[in-house]
Symmetry: C2
Subunit: 142 residues, 2 copies
Amino acid sequence: MQQRVSLITLAVSDMGRSAAFYEALGWARVKTDDGVVAFDLIGQTLGLYPRAKLAEDIGIREADLGRGAMTLGYNVSEKQEVAALIDVARAAGARILKEASDVFWGGHHGYFADPDGHIWEIAHNPFSPLSDEGAFRWNGYG
Amino acid sequence: MQQRVSLITLAVSDMGRSAAFYEALGWARVKTDDGVVAFDLIGQTLGLYPRAKLAEDIGIREADLGRGAMTLGYNVSEKQEVAALIDVARAAGARILKEASDVFWGGHHGYFADPDGHIWEIAHNPFSPLSDEGAFRWNGYG
């Protein structure tokens, strides 16, 4: 098994509300009319899909969907971008879990939750600079 | 906000168990000694981090971590790779949620859960072929 993730699928309760939320962050969806709202990322896709349909697709109860806790991280090159993006998320209707803050290891970050509670971290990690294309490599906390 | 995800962080209850699970899938961790187990993906990183520490980092209760239902998809170029990788996951200790199966839209897929319930889909989508480097673009179901 190679080290890659093709699709990050967020299970959502209201497709229109969630699509509007990510569009309000400045994202442009791929044109599709197959019941999925897709956003192209670097080498992968983030998809929005109805909770009930995703549970049906897997063959589990909807209540069993949300067991695996995970967060999606969005790293930025400049420290001051963190607060700016937390404000973008707030304006888009996100629930802010943590305002832009210095972190003990020398970074700076904030957290928000999207309409269905998917947690995003906006982070500046001075020890793991982004590539020119925005790709991220983990070099530790420093 | 650009369309990218830098870090997918899986909150886990036993770092050693989860690291061994992903290594049993054939993945090699980045050498770090900072309390994170990191695997380099294409242009991003998948990290394992203790549930309690992730909740503390965000500033929420651990019980509030798992609200956002999502799945990670791993697409393959050949249909028969799906069953083979479901077997790899089974051998690594995964709970198989759905064996390799044809899907109504013309694809083929299976699902498993890792030790903490994070759901992975192994999928062959003949309408969205992978690039030579393994990158994925959503072209719909066909």
